[in-house]
Symmetry: C5
């Protein structure tokens, strides 16, 4: 995954699927999207049934047979499938419309007998993006819907299979928590790599500002904006979930949700810290640029100041005044030591200038104050 990629698109720049003005609840699938594939995990404390791919009809048989049913739908290319699932589980069409318009902000909508939760997980392609995860929590079931194959839920699946932790003994609300926590955790390694990029760039820019750095700084800003747009609203969503009075969320699960909320807060803290540091990078770049410019100008000025007087002198003795017309006309040309004296004067001027510029610290000691340190106490 390239963090500071320069071609990151505008964060959140997904066109809406539903045509403007269509009736609410109109389900229009992205024709370019993959066809839905439904995976199922049904489990209770004692048993687990897993299907990598299941047809809509087979679901009914398993419903009710296990305390928790988790349908994981990947690919949103067929509105009919989504609609059928919606009907089977009594999901609201407004929520289903949001599932297909995959640019929702993280949020929670409470319906009569189910909760609709949207969150966004980071998506690793050639640049950083986030992908919408839609989650329905109802009595005895959790339905997740994603745009593309590949997610951050494998650890959860393994835990279900291996019976690690209390997940198999708990209800769908705990599964919901586990999934939200997995989404939250998925942002940490990304922020770490952003942090490393920031540290690297600080050093590089201070050592040698490069035109391309502007591009990379901007890429980092965009990545942070992308993450921020996914994480900030999630905080609010979790906070609503925790305060929720719905019977779908049990009291003991809220303790875990609060922990997930804390992690989201930590993410926000990191994002805001990195945003400050990245925005500082621009200042560092400009300062370093201006320092370089200053040095270039000093070189130019030193060169000009040394050579212009010398050139003038040599130019003067290249004049063709007629020494025969008057003893005043360029008698120096005929002196015995005329030439060496002139060269000596030139050398003196040059040395004098160089000493002056050294004293002014324009040349030769640019590394002077670098050793200064501040050690309090």
């Amino acid at each position: 995954m390239t963090v500071a990629s320069s071609t990151t698109p505008i964060p959140g720049h997904h066109p809406r699927r539903t045509p403007p003005g269509a009736p609410p609840g109109t389900l229009v699938a992205d024709p370019a999207a993959a066809a839905p594939r439904i995976a199922l995990m049904a489990y209770g404390p004692d048993a687990i049934e897993e299907r990598a791919e299941i047809s809509l009809e087979d679901i009914d048989a398993l419903r009710g047979a296990f305390p928790v049913l988790w349908l994981d739908i990947t690919g949103l290319g067929d509105a009919a499938v989504i609609r059928d699932i919606g009907k089977k589980f009594g999901l609201h069409t407004l929520a289903l419309e949001d599932v297909l318009n995959v640019h929702q902000r993280p949020k929670i909508d409470e319906y009569d007998d189910h909760l609709f939760i949207v969150c966004r997980m980071p998506h690793h392609e050639k640049r950083l993006e986030t992908e919408q995860v839609s989650l329905f929590l109802g009595k005895g079931f959790v339905i997740t819907m994603q745009e593309r194959p590949g997610d951050c839920f494998d650890a959860v699946r393994n835990r279900l299979r291996s019976r690690r932790g209390r997940i198999r003994d708990s209800g769908p609300d705990y599964l919901t928590y586990t999934l939200l926590d997995a989404v939250t955790d998925a942002f940490f390694p990304i922020l770490e790599s952003v942090g490393e990029a920031v540290t690297t760039m600080e050093e590089e820019i201070m050592a040698d500002p490069h035109p391309n750095d502007v591009r990379r700084i901007h890429g980092l800003k965009r990545d942070l904006l992308t993450i921020r747009r996914a994480v900030w609203p999630q905080r609010e969503m979790l906070s609503t979930l925790i305060r929720d009075e719905s019977p779908l969320i049990m009291e003991q699960t809220k303790l875990y949700l609060r922990d997930c909320f804390d992690h989201t807060f930590q993410l926000i803290d990191l994002i805001e810290t990195y945003r400050e540091l990245v925005s500082d990078l621009t200042d560092i770049f400009l300062s370093s640029q201006s320092t370089r410019m200053n040095e270039v100008m000093k070189v130019l000025t030193v060169i000009a100041t040394i050579f212009m007087p010398l050139t003038l002198i040599s130019s003067i003795y290249g004049m063709n005044f007629d020494s025969k017309a008057s003893w005043l006309n360029m008698p120096e040309l005929h002196w015995e030591y005329g030439y060496p004296a002139t060269l000596a004067v030139m050398a003196l001027i040059a040395i004098g200038m160089i000493l002056y510029f050294r004293k002014q610290r324009w040349i030769g000691n640019s590394r002077r104050r670098r050793q200064r340190t501040h050690s309090p106490e």
Copy 2:
């Protein structure tokens, strides 16, 4: 529609119609505005009556005959017509005054038996503007008033005609929702085009900053300010509408209004993201400019540093010291290899300088670090 047009007027820079100090409720029409044209759609679950143009008198006949009456008035050039409609439907004069002063912020005012809602829809002329839509929601009627022909309600009209969705079975509150949702949706394609402009400009500015870019960045800022001024207050307006206890809004409609509220929030999210990116464009421009300047200065300095010493040397040997006066005076001129040796020294100096500047990376390797990538994990 030109998004980054440089001549966008100050957003919201409409002069007030009502003269300062006039009594409140004074209705003064803009003499330059078009005369009002009243269109009507009256409908119920089973029937619909549509009139492209209707006179004030004919309205009475249809009132009450249908569950919902939608009057759509285009053109605010005649205060008398507005006043008459106000009287017929019992609309408050303060609200009517706001209808004619077409620079209101989106808001909702609750009166005894009707709600007055103001929102702003984007207006496509040679530059981006917003146009005020005033909406009255009363028992059995919805009245919309617009400044100019052309709006974003055609999809709603078609839905009414074709009986798509639940719109024909619902009351005026649902129609109100549908219209507000259409206004909200109308901002999405505009923001998308802003987003595209931002992406294009980023690349262009980083590749080659151009004086005109300042103008274009400023144009984008203004467009975003214009949209922002229309969308931010709409969020508050919708939130008030959702919390409203008025019997004019049925409970099931609020679910839809909440959806519209979510979309408004998405718009705000996009606007703020683009604002950050656009304000970053100025930084990119300045950084790129300063990079160019640095390069120009380096060229100048390199040129001066190479040629000044050479010119000095040739100038020295152009001096006219009299070699006959003393063997010390410019004996080089009479050496056998004097000239070629001098040229060789010049060439050595030039080559030495060039090598030095290459090592200092002032010339020749400005594309060095461009390949650096950061691939975490």
Copy 3:
């Protein structure tokens, strides 16, 4: 009125009248201020009595004879008069002290039987300032006090005289609303002129940044600060007034106050928009300056790069090496085509440089990208 005047004083930079440490309620008039002149309008639905100047004693006779008594006091040069009026109408001394210290923020203070309202109206002198208007609303009376002759209340007076609107049928609370509305409306034309100045300056700066623009931008910033300081607290003041439970404000008047509140909100909206645009002007100025600088530097570099090599060549052939000493010494000088060939080489170098700089787009095509437009959809 000059909007962008460069000598606008610090907004709000009025020295306090009351000496530090004086007892509260100490009334000290500005000795330079004009003597108070009391104008009176007493009216009811049927009759109106107007006096351009009235003595303190004559007021008593009229008090009670009319439903509403409006005293308008201009000039705060005599603390005794203010004190007497205060006594006659039972006004609190703390409020009277604030009347004389004419640098109050807009606010509302509630006393037992009267309200004390401060607002600030724009004052048109050689630069933009605001002037304090103090308003007392009591049972059956409104007292306004201003620093200087000339205000924005003439339209209100005319309405009273001509019986336009419902003003004559309403109580002192409605008069209060009318006056506050007049003050609010007085800011709109000023903001419009600021808006025009901003638009003009944008174009001018982008076309040709001028040292004086810094001064004008700063002037606009100050003017906006001045207006902002007057309008922001007014919003709060009006909001307090609307929520107020005082029997002095009737319920139906609050509808009008809410309208006035909306206008204040619109003002704030404009102020903040203009503030963003003006602060953007500084960026535009700096960008334009840096663009100019870049162009100047390019000219210098182009000139130096073209002429330095040429001068070197001509300087070389000005050397005095003795061609007789050796056939190697400057044989070119004696070639048949030496001179024309040298000139030709010089010309070739010059042309080559120019072509190179053209290709690098340093000269000749600075208007290249100016035609680019972005027309979405």
Copy 4:
């Protein structure tokens, strides 16, 4: 008092007196501080007893004999004295610790039978600082404690002596108000001088930016930070005091405290306005600098562009091509009008350049647009 002094220390940079980890309530006096001197004023409506210096023992005799006892302690160099007073009046040790750690933010702490108020008054030494005033308000007494002699309470003392205002008839709560008001008022003249400095510097910087201005702008920023740190929390403190239910504050005093609160708000308003203006000064400085730089560069470019071609020409005719070797070799040298023609060409080039630069407005008309004014309406 020097407002823009460049050596102002970090605002609030007082080391803590109490060693880290010491038990709370540990009283450690600054050994460098002056020894406490206790002044007393005891008064009622009819009598007043004043002692410029009083011993701890003598206080008891006067306590209870007058309605109000005001102890004013100057110098915090002896922790024992502070502790004894604390014991005598039942003051909480946590509060006493805060008295000695003279870097508290303004605040109010409510204890069982007394209030502890901290505020900061401006201190006039060679630079702007604030000094902590600790105030205890109890039943029948007010105790103030200050670091150094010299305060802003002389007007209050005079009022007490001369019986001006209602101060002698009121209780200790009114005295508290009077003292807080005196502290608040003491900031106004300082802000006025800051305001004057800002106005002066604006003009100076725009006319002629000077390296030292950076220092002065920074000095102003620091001074404003110092004042801000003293005034902002005072607003909160007063607001708490006003809302307080404590029987120590009588209802009628709150009206006065509200007035004091208004003044604090005015101070904040001024501070924030000045902060904006001062931060604008940096922009003005940079803009002016860049304008100067532009002008310097233009001079350089103009000079180089005029002289380089001329020097080239004269250098060409200084070449030594052998006119005898060929008629093509520098025949101009032997023309009759060769020299004057060359000089004429040089003059033409120079004049042409100058005219060109005039047209480009690089020279001669830098004052062109200075007269532009904007007079709306």
Copy 5:
């Protein structure tokens, strides 16, 4: 401790210990961390038992024998030990997980019979960092857990041993307060050293901006961000603790916690002040840089403007026009005073230029306005 160290890592850049997707409450220790060492202090008003190192089994014997038991665990390298302690004292596994993931924000989590508090203390290594301190407060016990040996609690331990203050007479809530207060106090000396660094750098940068200063400014910003991330959430944590209704915190302790809260507020105040001053340093650096650049450019321009005309003149008289061909060709060369006159003209031009630049204040009087002071009153 180096405050402005340039290699400070990203604040808060600790990788998470628990693998993403692991069940909540999974305890994974950092394999590089030190093994836990448990120190114990058990005390009551009359007795104290201290063990520098104690095994898990020995704790049981002491539990209950003293009113307060303080376990201080240093080193988090063994998850099993942490889990055992958790079991023994009934600590929640979610809290224990947070103990091991040592990058928590300061917070408080309330569990049924204990409180879990996280705070961060400054850590003195070769750069500024913060170290997590986890604190459990239960009935009769306080458990603190730290990553590394060395903390800021030695003063507390000494107070316990020496029976200073009321700590031995109080319960575990007071011990908790004492520890939190010690953590808070530990930030003061660090902020003081930051403040000193800021003051020093201001002077240095204004006197002589150095490329390395960018690095140092950035180091200060990072240090302040590090401190800020530790202190800001602590304010919230303390505020929750104060408002807490838990029976674990006694009412009289809250007074002390409020004092600690005040200190935290002071820290925040200092941090924000320093942040403003540090961010101002960048402005100062850029302004100083631009001032230097201006001066360099002036030198260059002055040199070029003086020498270019002189070189032109000497170059002109180096032309080889044939004076024999015409009396018009360079007759000056044969004049008696030709050479001295030419030198005189050159000298005049040079002197004239120097005088002109002096008048323009480009040279010689750069220290002119440095003495200006502003002494109001």
